[in-house]
């Protein structure tokens, strides 16, 4: 009576979730303030006041039937135009409202993007390290995820690995910069080279390989730098965005796909997304949330705390002799663990109430992830504990 495939998926519990649940249980024992829980990528700063103020204003002044009415299945036109205008201003690409498809966060965005450009049996290439949910995001469409091993020297793209992985059944490449879990930002050079190689392979195979760019961390960039925008470098790019991190509203499930106007089928893709929605029960994000996000599209929560936290952790990890790439954005850092078995390393750390996530599931065995979307005060208190753990276990 029940679909066995999904029952089997249940068997494979998420390591991140298990660790997070452990952290919660442990918090109940010793006080959560004493658990240095670096497990979950849940924003820790409040949404900008304007987001809430705008939502309240809409609730108090807009005609309820209009405010809460059905959004067209391709999204509210005014919302789409505000998002397009922001992207035009910021990235100089001539997006129109009709290139924007509002979605329930990046998960919804990727669900539509992958289905639109693949058929079952084709493959979608991802580069390690990668967000483990890319597995179900891709495989559950009937397409297959194909993982290119990491370039461990700097966690840019391993192009030799790409050339080995790509073939005539490659429909798309899914990238994520700034990257979860490494915190690394793909350089202009990386994106140019990727673009050239995609163009070459597209020509060889006689179909355009699509670049799906997952960018929830776009606004969390360090050292005053801008994150290179992948759609700049390759025309056939579907940009998947979420306001979860920029506005600190992950529970509100709001994001979009932006179709590069230079993309093949640019005029049909959002309509195709609308057809996909019918089958997966998506049918638009909340109207209220669409409007509030669009009204604050150019704002962000105060994201500076993540850079402060990153510097504290990076300096301490370096000082302790860790091999670690300095993040260019996100709220993650991914040091090499001090023993080969990252799971064993993270288990030992748990004895010190340090909750790190082994990166085996991210395609980076021998590394662990720290999600530093926590109070800076707690990060500071964790530093001597990290030092104690390393000195007692690995000196």
């Amino acid at each position: 009576m029940i679909n066995q495939h999904y029952l089997d998926m249940l068997g494979h519990k998420s390591v991140i979730r298990e660790l997070s649940e452990y952290a919660t249980r442990r918090g109940a024992e010793i006080g959560y303030e004493n658990v240095f829980d670096y497990s979950l990528g849940n924003p820790s700063v409040p949404a900008p006041r304007d987001f809430n103020a705008d939502a309240v204003h809409l609730l108090e002044t807009m005609e309820p039937v209009k405010l809460h009415g059905y959004s067209p299945s391709l999204g509210l036109p005014g919302v789409k135009e505000k998002i397009a205008a922001s992207l035009r201003r910021r990235f100089g690409i001539d997006y129109k409202a009709e290139h924007i498809f509002p979605t329930a966060g990046c998960a919804g965005a990727i669900a539509h993007a992958v289905r639109a450009v693949t058929v079952p049996g084709q493959n979608v290439i991802v580069f390690a390290p990668y967000f483990p949910e890319y597995g179900p995001y891709i495989n559950e469409t009937g397409a297959q995820i194909r993982v290119v091993p990491a370039r461990f020297s700097d966690f840019q793209i391993n192009f030799d690995g790409f050339e080995k992985a790509v073939d005539e059944n490659t429909a798309a490449v899914l990238i994520n910069s700034p990257n979860n879990p490494s915190g690394v930002v793909y350089s202009e050079e990386t994106l140019k080279e990727l673009s050239e190689r995609l163009a070459r392979r597209s020509a060889q195979y006689g179909h355009n390989i699509v670049l799906i760019s997952d960018e929830p961390y776009r606004e969390i960039a360090f050292d005053g730098k801008k994150v290179p925008y992948p759609a700049h470098y390759y025309p056939h790019t579907l940009t998947c965005y979420s306001f979860s991190k920029s506005l600190s509203v992950p529970g509100e499930r709001i994001g979009y796909v932006a179709v590069n106007p230079a993309c093949e089928h640019a005029d049909e893709l959002t309509a195709v997304f609308g057809q996909i929605s019918r089958g997966i029960g998506h049918n638009c994000p909340s109207s209220l949330i669409q409007m509030a996000a669009a009204d604050t599209v150019d704002e962000t929560a105060d994201l500076s705390v993540y850079e402060t936290n990153m510097n504290l952790l990076y300096d301490t990890l370096k000082d302790l002799g860790f091999t670690v790439q300095r993040p260019g954005g996100t709220f993650y850092i991914m040091p090499k663990t001090l023993e080969e078995d990252a799971v064993s390393f993270c288990r030992k750390a748990m004895q010190y109430d340090l909750i790190f996530v082994p990166c085996d599931g991210f395609g980076a065995p021998g590394y662990c992830r720290l999600a530093y979307c926590v109070d800076t005060e707690k990060v500071k208190r964790s530093l001597p504990v990290i030092r104690k753990f390393v000195e007692e276990c690995y000196r």
Copy 2:
């Protein structure tokens, strides 16, 4: 580069949407108040004040990181408990929080329910007349819709048709009472007979056939009657609900699946829904909207206008000699058209700025649907126009 299947779906435009677009264009010409637009099932009454007040209260008083934070993928526990408690009170079934899975409206609910209990190649039976979106809702999972012809005498279930349609590959039956488009409410007798037949066939085939009950119109019931609750009559029932109509918030995309505690696999089904979510990019409705809906779970918008409108239209249609079943709920009525070809009938009506929807796509050729979620004043003005249309075209 683009999935041809979805491009092909684009070719089949929705008749309802085309008519609604025509009504909008015509409205621009002659003033929308002069177009008697009965095409779209979009609630016309405002959400209850408490819904907006509750949302404002949450936005103004709750800690933003908590308010807008990730909901667990199976839904916010407090929300689930409030919904379960309401169902326990109202229907006397012992739902617990863990039997409730919040979804993005009924579309999201059905997407999860169908995937959970089917495998590709199995069939799901629906009874005409039925909401045309059941086609993509079911077929896009890989299962196949199997339509049982209508029982035209009263639009209850055609059980002879059911017996011809059901076979060992039948995984589920999807019903909708009160019904879109007929407005008919399935009687206790109908539900009892359906339950007996499902139990018999389940025993015969060695697997439980699941009843998926789509109930967005549950609270719109006429003549002070209660709508019989299908889960009462059959244990293996997944109840799909949306607050779209009861709270008049269709754009907010909020609903749930309630798993009957007596259902086989009742303890696993919501966890399975969570796994399905990963693949379709659902990952929970908006946190704010989950909370606001749960806080007003036992309220409704002022739904009485729909009964007023129904009576006005029913009396006029009867008076004009239409064959028509008196609706027991919803905001739809489905008269037999005055010529065999419903499309031709509706085209002639358009000349009078009367926008009716032919029911061929609902599995009821020779009938049309009027969605009377419009101002009563407009309904009243439409009555002499309907009379004129009928007298000029069919007398």
